[in-house]
């Protein structure tokens, strides 16, 4: 008797959980069908690969944002951080002047180190300064952005060495077994992110911190370290995104990465991560990033809405995603 009661209870619960986690995937499928109906070219392999490739930057950044948000934080500075990192990386490559793998590796290391340091700064100010992450990252967002403008003297920072450009080019435009490298990069980042969030005690601590900071503290979770680490992970993700981004245009401008924070947070929320923390869904986030790019793509392929309104549609999506989350939550 008791056995059966126990089991049916468990099955029921699993079903509801799956519904929540599945909703971004369902939305993705619905959008894909809608896209195919609007324009037959939509489902062509080249278009699909193009869409997913374009979503790679946001997806990689959003994986980091999943950690920050699941721990109850927020990082608004990612777009500016990406611009600053790209700018400094290009300046470093220009200064080094070489056109070999060694030069490129040094440039990449500088990029990752700088973005990780930016994340560390965000994390330390939030934890030790005990300031709302919204305010802290709003501040650093302004700082990073104006540093780029200053470094570029208001213009463009361009990768000058043509040979180096050619060497670097495949990171964005190349592919392995027909799969573009950016897609591979973002799948690898997401897989590692999921592994860390779901399978390690650090990941468990992130979720505990986002659920209830007091409980985490009373349970002996090193909350300062965990929180700071989430911002560092965010920084490293921004760095990886920049590595993939720079070969695309070979330059950084004061508008590089503009509104990426909006897109990253939108992707996280669409993916089912709770904005108040305590729930983190890495794969949902990845799907969320693809959905954003898919919507933009459908708008370009169809003629219903001007593509200049892409930002408006993406803004509307985050609001709708929150409303859906709210109603799912209430229904429970």
């Amino acid at each position: 008797m008791t056995e059966t009661v126990l089991r049916t209870g468990a099955e029921k619960r699993k079903l509801t959980i799956d519904m929540r986690a599945l909703s971004p995937f369902i939305a993705l499928i619905v959008l894909a069908i809608a896209g195919a109906l609007i324009n037959p070219d939509f489902l062509s392999a080249s278009n699909i690969l193009n869409v997913v490739t374009r979503s790679a930057f946001i997806a990689i950044i959003a994986v980091g944002a999943t950690f920050v948000i699941a721990a109850g934080g927020l990082d608004l500075s990612v777009g500016s951080m990406a611009a600053l990192t790209a700018g400094v990386m290009i300046l470093t490559l220009n200064t080094l002047g070489g056109a070999d793998m060694g030069t490129l590796a040094v440039g990449m290391l500088v990029a990752i180190a700088l973005s990780a340091a930016c994340g560390l700064a965000n994390g330390l100010i939030v934890t030790f300064g005990r300031i709302e992450p919204f305010i802290v990252t709003l501040g650093t967002m302004g700082i990073f952005r104006s540093l780029v403008v200053w470094l570029a003297a208001g213009g463009t920072i361009t990768l000058r060495n043509f040979e180096l450009r050619e060497l670097y080019r495949p990171i964005y435009f190349g592919s392995v077994f027909g799969i573009p490298i950016p897609i591979i990069a973002f799948l690898v980042v997401a897989a590692i992110g999921a592994l860390i969030l779901y399978r390690t005690s650090f990941g468990r601590h992130v979720v505990a911190l986002g659920s209830n900071e007091d409980v985490a503290r009373y349970s002996g979770v090193p909350i300062w370290r965990v929180r700071t680490l989430t911002y560092i992970i965010q920084g490293i993700c921004v760095g990886i995104a920049v590595l993939v981004y720079v070969p695309r245009l070979g330059s950084a401008t004061p508008t590089t990465g503009l509104l990426w924070e909006l897109q990253a947070i939108t992707a996280v929320v669409i993916g089912g991560t709770a904005l108040k923390g305590g729930v983190g869904r890495v794969w949902g986030t990845v799907v969320g990033a693809v959905i954003l790019e898919l919507v933009a793509n459908i708008m370009v392929l169809s003629n219903f809405v001007s593509e200049f309104l892409v930002g408006a549609v993406q803004g509307a999506i985050i609001i709708i995603a929150m409303l859906v989350q709210r109603s799912v939550h209430r229904g429970r």
């Binding site: 009661v5 126990l6 209870g9 468990a10 619960r13 699993k14 592994l195 399978r199 390690t200 005690s201 468990r204 601590h205 979720v207 505990a208 659920s211 209830n212 007091d214 409980v215 985490a216 503290r217 009373y218 349970s219 002996g220 979770v221 090193p222 305590g278």
Partner: protein
């Protein structure tokens, strides 16, 4: 005798689960009617039906002899039925007067009339026998004063029936006593008072009649005359409860395991010194706000503190709970929901959170080992749950406490500090928790029990240290343990007042 409010065959189901079945209850003007029962017996559901928060699935509510259906709590309030909630529902940043009139502000020419509201607030608070300043922000009030403000807010509207849901859960004996005089005053004015509690001594002191619920069923309604707390407990639990406390384990050991000297927690505790022996259950008594919780939060590194602590002969100082846990000292917060458990996470995640390092295989968490630990915890601690996949917030108070105990015991501590071990826990589970604590002491662990329930301290502890105003007021040895001796130290008075309080809670 005519009743003011009468429930007739009330049943309530949530989905397929019936939480109340066929309950009848009548409230007469000028009586205090207590409703008692274990957690989950249906007390609160019944209360919420009578005050219009939810509608019954079957049955009727009669008010002044007429059948009524309330559209919601507002209508019930307009008809004279007010509910004083268990939780404090006040806006902390507003003043007392602003809170009292929140949502029903008195206006003059379209603007709020602060002067009138302030005067009326002062009047009603004086009537309740308190001198809280109407202009004080609620944030700055003590819990007891907040409760008074909440009662004042409920009594602002004309009332025939006043329902109290566990009103003394956060009050000290003295504060509870002044609440009782308010209730007696309400009764003498002809109001009917519905009083929900599971503190049986209180019920004995204040109620005229008692209705007992068990598992959503009506068990008995009796006059308080001749109904003793022990009998009430038997009716509630359905079995004999004369042996609530286990035998105190024999701790022959004189071996001191923890020495605390001149512990100061700024703002809360000054120069507290005490020793803890191996195998001892040491009680900490005192009024709420005496600094007991803060002393131990300071000790385990959850608050900044100064002082010297020596544990197993070595001088120690903990910067956070993690270090204290590593050394073998755990603290179980009185605030289970806010600081003890992640209510939105499942049992497995909660159980292993503090001891996650023990569940690692390489870099990753071993979920299989976690599941096994959960099986063991459910068995060893008798955690009753419909399903293993429930969230911690869906457990009853007693089972949450067992889960919290299981979680901290995974750390294999030497010293366990339990703050209010049975707050919000039903009597059947209390007995289990007491037995468990005694067993731990028997196994050679040392336990510190912080409690506001004097019976608990007397029934469970070898020694009781009493705190007053952030200082240690004194110590009561096992042979001298009595409510009188604890109350004396807690209040610093030893006159009729103390005796009266003790009598009310005997």
């Amino acid at each position: 005798m005519d009743s003011v409010l009468r429930a007739e065959n009330i049943s309530k189901s949530f989905g397929p689960i019936e939480v109340l079945s066929g309950i009848s209850l009548e409230l007469r003007p000028g009586e205090v009617h207590a409703v008692i029962g274990e957690n989950g017996a249906g007390k609160s559901t019944l209360m919420r039906i009578l005050s219009g928060h939810i509608a019954p699935t079957r049955g009727h509510v009669h008010l002044d002899g007429q059948s009524v259906t309330f559209s919601g709590p507002v209508e019930a309030e307009n008809r004279g039925i007010v509910l004083v909630h268990q939780e404090i529902l006040l806006a902390e940043d507003l003043t007392v007067a602003q809170n009292l009139f929140l949502g029903r502000e008195i206006k003059r020419f379209g603007f709020v009339d602060d002067r009138t509201m302030r005067e009326r607030t002062r009047g009603i608070l004086a009537e309740l026998g308190t001198r809280i300043d109407p202009d004080c922000e609620v944030r700055r009030l003590s819990i007891a004063d907040r409760q008074l403000v909440q009662i004042a807010r409920a009594l602002l509207v004309p009332h025939k029936v006043v329902a109290f849901d566990e009103p003394t859960a956060v009050l000290t004996p003295i504060e509870a006593e002044s609440l009782f005089s308010i209730i007696r005053r309400l009764r003498s004015h002809g109001a009917a008072v519905l009083y929900i509690s599971h503190r049986l001594n209180e019920v004995k002191a204040i109620a005229d009649r008692v209705t007992v619920l068990r598992d959503g069923q009506h068990v008995a309604t009796r006059d308080i005359e001749g109904l003793e707390p022990l009998e009430m407990a038997r009716l509630m639990v359905g079995r004999d409860m004369s042996k609530l406390y286990p035998d105190k384990p024999d701790t022959a050991s004189d071996h001191v395991i923890l020495t605390v000297r001149d512990m100061t927690v700024p703002g809360f505790v000054e120069n507290a010194s005490f020793d803890l022996r191996r195998g001892e259950i040491l009680g900490f008594g005192g009024l709420i706000g005496a600094g007991r919780t803060e002393l131990f939060e300071g000790l385990v590194g959850l608050r900044p503190s100064q002082g010297s602590v020596s544990f197993r002969g070595e001088s120690v100082s903990f910067r956070d709970a993690r270090e204290a846990m590593a050394a073998g000292i755990v603290y179980l917060s009185e605030d289970r929901k806010g600081k003890g458990l992640l209510l939105q996470q499942n049992l497995r995640v909660n159980l292993s959170l503090a001891a996650l390092d023990r569940f690692r295989r390489g870099s990753f968490i071993d979920v299989g080992a976690e599941e096994k630990a959960l099986d063991e915890a459910i068995r060893n601690f008798d955690i009753r749950t419909r399903s293993r996949d429930l969230l911690a917030g869906q457990l009853s108070g007693g089972n949450q406490q067992k889960l919290l105990l299981a979680k901290m015991m995974l750390l294999e501590p030497r010293i366990i500090i339990i703050d209010e071990p049975t707050r919000g826990v039903d009597i059947g589970t209390k007995e289990q928790i007491y037995r468990f604590i005694a067993q731990l002491a028997d196994d050679g662990l040392s336990i510190i029990v912080i409690s506001s329930e004097m019976q608990e301290l007397i029934g469970l502890c070898h020694r009781v240290i009493v705190m007053r105003n952030g200082r240690i007021a004194g110590e009561v040895a096992q042979a001298d343990l009595s409510e009188d001796s604890i109350v004396y130290l807690a209040n610093g008075v030893h006159e009729e007042r103390a005796a009266e309080i003790a009598a009310g809670h005997a």
